[in-house]
């Protein structure tokens, strides 16, 4: 029934700890897959290894044992948005957002016009000429998202992307980000503490349990997965899944 899904990220029997001491292991024999075009959110208590897992995926850390593979390649093309994006103080918002485009040497007028569009889409138009020091925390997160979506990539990773924004902005931006990911057919990984956000945006939730216990996962029903985030709350199963997440986290 379900059609064959391509594996984007394959983690097999992963063993990792920051020191060789067996007690300090963060992951012991962890195996999971993330599929092509899937939006996945990683949840878990503080210190359970969420950011460590991201760092392993992008290749900043190397596993003690086991396999972490993206696209079956060793060199990963990805885009990572950190909890707090850092911008170059000498560049205006627009120039900061254009930085990834400059780095891949693709700054023609068309690409830059698209970037201008992104300022409108992410609700930051009118601030193109402001310097980062003149932006609020929420505006910086919007700018971080614009910078992130300035270039095309196959894998986007977001670490707490919207935690500095107010409720309505989060709802609007979640829709925008979700739309972007789905129309561009990209794989997205989120890390967050916000359960409502997680259930709203993902196709699947991965709840890390910390050492040895591995993880548990919750799949969204097809109905929820195909609905735009802001509308999901009206669907019957939404509350149930949120409760399930809470139960899993408390376990």
């Amino acid at each position: 029934m379900e059609k064959e899904r391509l594996i984007k990220i394959k983690i097999d029997n992963l063993l990792f700890g920051y020191s060789n001491n067996h007690k300090s292991l963060i992951f012991n024999d962890l195996s999971l897959q993330i599929y092509e075009n899937e939006v996945v959110t990683i949840l878990g208590r503080s210190g359970c290894g969420k950011t460590t897992l991201l760092n392993l995926i992008v290749g900043d850390l190397t596993p003690n044992a086991g396999i972490v593979e993206v696209n079956n390649q060793s060199k990963v093309s990805f885009s990572l948005m950190p909890q707090t994006s850092i911008f170059i103080p000498f560049r205006t918002s627009f120039e900061n957002a254009a930085l990834p485009i400059e780095l891949i040497n693709n700054f023609d007028t068309e690409t830059l016009n698209k970037l201008k569009q992104l300022f409108i889409v992410f609700g930051l138009s009118g601030y193109e000429n402001k310097f980062p020091s003149e932006l609020s925390g929420g505006m910086k997160q919007r700018l971080g998202l614009i910078q992130n979506f300035a270039t095309d990539t196959q894998l986007r990773i977001f670490d707490e992307p919207l935690n500095a924004l107010d409720y309505t902005s989060v709802v609007n931006l979640t829709d925008t980000v979700w739309n972007k990911l789905k129309t561009k057919k990209e794989t997205g990984i989120f890390v967050t503490h916000d359960i409502e956000f997680a259930v709203s945006v993902s196709d699947r939730l991965i709840i890390l349990k910390g050492y040895d216990s591995g993880f548990s996962e919750i799949n969204m029903s097809a109905e929820i997965a195909q609905t735009i985030p802001s509308k999901r709350k009206t669907i019957a199963g939404f509350k149930e899944i949120s409760n399930k997440v809470v139960t899993e986290l408390l376990n």
Partner: protein, 259 residues
């Protein structure tokens, strides 16, 4: 109004100085008087004597500073890419930089003669080490988080230097330029003290040999003016640094889209 307050101590000092000089011959001989200094200063400026010597010292300091600062900063930046070399060279750099300029200056005569080249060499020696340290430390401050966007996009070394390391260490470079502009004038002055036929250092040496105190102090006034000139030059660049750096590191198409 605030600006006037700044000059009150100076005015009080000058009045007191002038008054004491007019009362006692001894004071006048040892310390001259503001009016006599000003008179000598005016005469020497008009007959072009000070101007030619001023330009000699300014040229020595400026050329030496430019070379010392640029070469030093480039060495500092390149050490960022070779951490082993940076660790190994740290000890030698500290040892070399601790040599007093006065001690090395006589050697400069042996190596470079007594003309312009020698003074430039002394100035380079005075400025290069601070430039190396400042550029290296400035670049060192860049964290993994700052680099992230460059790593995400597999940026080239050139882009990483030009668009990240260079702009980020700018504050340190300006600090370096400010310290070094003082050191450069001092270096040129020391060079002239050791051996010279012209320059403000040469004049001070000559006039003090003649016990001509007003002329010595008038020459010192020239040196103060030279320092102020260098300082305001650095300040002008510093004030426009955001636009300069944008002009240098942001492609024109991007800057124009911004409008």
């Amino acid at each position: 109004m605030n600006k006037i307050y700044k000059f009150i101590p100076l005015a009080v000092l000058l009045i007191f100085w002038e008054y004491s000089a007019s009362q006692a011959e001894k004071v006048k001989f040892l310390f001259a008087s503001p009016s006599s200094i000003l008179k000598v200063f005016g005469e020497n400026v008009i007959n072009g004597n000070f101007i030619s010597h001023f330009l000699v010292t300014a040229a020595e300091a400026f050329v030496g500073l430019l070379i010392g600062f640029i070469v030093g900063s480039l060495i500092g930046f390149s050490l960022l890419y070779f951490s082993k070399l940076a660790n190994a060279s740290r000890f030698y750099l500290i040892a070399l930089s601790s040599i007093p300029v006065f001690a090395i200056a006589p050697m400069m005569i042996i190596w470079f003669g007594i003309a312009f080249k020698m003074k430039v060499a002394v100035v380079i020696f005075s400025t290069i080490f601070t430039s190396i340290f400042q550029a290296y430390e400035g670049g060192k401050r860049i964290t993994k988080e700052d680099e992230l966007i460059f790593k995400n996009n597999n940026a080239t070394y050139k882009d990483k230097f030009w668009k990240l390391i260079f702009p980020y260490s700018l504050d340190w470079l300006f600090q370096s330029l400010k310290i070094n502009s003082g050191l450069a004038i001092l270096g040129a002055f020391i060079g002239e003290f050791i051996a010279s036929e012209s320059g403000l250092g040469h004049l001070v040496l000559k006039y003090s040999g003649l016990y001509d105190v007003p002329s010595v102090l008038a020459t010192i006034l020239c040196i103060i003016l030279l320092s102020l000139m260098f300082n305001s030059f650095v300040s002008i660049i510093e004030r426009n640094r955001v636009n300069i750096i944008r002009y240098l590191t942001v492609p024109k198409t991007v800057r124009q889209m911004n409008k």
